[in-house]
Amino acid sequence: MKRILLVLVSLIMALAIWGCSSKADSAAQPAKVSTEAVKPNGKTLVVYYSLPMTYDPAKMTEKEADNSAVIKDGKVYGNTEYFANVIKEASGADIFRIETVKIYSDDYQTLIADAKEEQRVNARPEMKANVPDLSQYDTIFVGYPNWWGDMPMVLYTFFEANDFSGKTIIPFNTHGGSGFSDTINSIQKLEPNAKVVKDGLSISRNDINDAAPQIQNWIKSLGFGK
């Protein structure tokens, strides 16, 4: 019995070590950045990508409203858009919205299938515009929804189009259960010379509606409170 357990556990350990070593291939994971190291010493920017199913409350199904949008005072925000705006209000940072040239379907199933297809072909959707003059910012919050366990492909376009060397990136994201997935490591790989903060904030679409206090506390704890 012990031998069998030993064999099984050894097998699993060996395979896990193999699995872990393929993760070590990715850019050496930086030590978790302490919140002290994040104190702002220059200008801060909030960049985000958000795609609620529709901005028209009349066209919104209840499920879409629940899952992809936040409605405050009759105004519709995408989940990540709302998140980004709360950060902006709490920190006084500048804000920039990533938008694609491509217009995605407002049919949920089509959108998901499209996103999967973009992943399959490793697409780089074209951005309508890039951040005007990234050089003036030292800290950039970057937010995105979790799509198929990764960032939407336009975020890859974004990171490849900009050089964050010497800057601090603070990720935030919204999700349906998968949290950040491995996107923080992906960002570090794309920007090896940037300080990518590991304790980004990830908020479920179920919680985003009431998340303002949590977001504000997080901003304060990072030292960015106004």
């Binding site: 099984l8 699995g19 199933q109």
Partner: protein, 214 residues
């Protein structure tokens, strides 16, 4: 040789549950194909069982066994087909398929149930396993208190791991997306799932296992 196939099945299953934790998508998809092959061999090796399905008497134990085996087979087929449809490393999918979101959901739901039913399946086949691993048979017969203690501890931890890994949410379709903690060591994830597997197997062994001392 059959017994090594059994071990391989369990190991590959655990690695599959880890999904992207063990590496990029190509690993998960390749393991899925390997699992398919292993299951196929397993089914072929046990074809006489399938052939005897309509023969003989049924009691509660046999009914549960057949039910679970059939459910497992169906679950694996569903998981495989949905996985193949979503594949983008191993299978040359090129046609845009609008129902991708639904396919993903099916794969997500089926995968966790297959995992649990697999564990139940093993629990129901303890005599077959001990028949092929004499050391296990001796362990089971010896009723050694230390061994029983270790298994009990793993089962207890399995209950904790069941909660920790949110299995209830996945199995009851409350949660539509699997959460993976990429900061947690993969080994811990695998051990968590291994413990859950042992717990479920032990439960089914106790409840429905055929006690055979041969």
């Amino acid at each position: 040789m059959k017994r090594y196939l059994h071990v391989a099945l369990i190991v590959v299953l655990l690695l599959l549950m880890a999904n992207l934790l063990i590496g990029i998508g190509v690993f998960h998809e390749s393991l899925g194909l390997i699992m398919g092959l292993l299951v196929l061999v397993h089914l072929v090796q046990n074809r006489t069982w399938w052939q005897s399905l309509f023969k003989g008497k049924y009691n509660v134990q046999r009914f549960v066994l057949v039910l679970l085996n059939v459910a497992l087979a169906i679950g694996i087929v569903i998981t495989m087909i949905s996985g193949i449809r979503m594949s983008h490393y191993v299978i040359p999918n090129t046609i845009f398929f609008k129902q991708m979101g639904t396919i993903r959901l099916i794969h997500h739901y089926a995968a966790y149930w297959v995992f649990i039913i697999c564990a139940a399946h093993v629990g129901l086949h303890v005599p077959v396993i001990t028949g092929r691993w004499p050391v296990l048979k001796r362990a089971l017969q010896s009723q050694n208190i230390w061994l029983q203690g270790i298994v009990a501890l793993i089962c207890l931890y399995g209950a904790y791991a069941f909660w920790y890994e949110s299995l209830f949410m996945y199995l009851t379709f409350i949660s539509d997306f699997a959460y993976f903690d990429f900061d947690q060591p993969v080994l811990l994830f695998l051990f968590n799932y291994f413990s859950i597997f042992i717990l479920v197997a032990a439960i089914f062994y106790r409840l429905f296992g055929v006690r055979r001392n041969g």
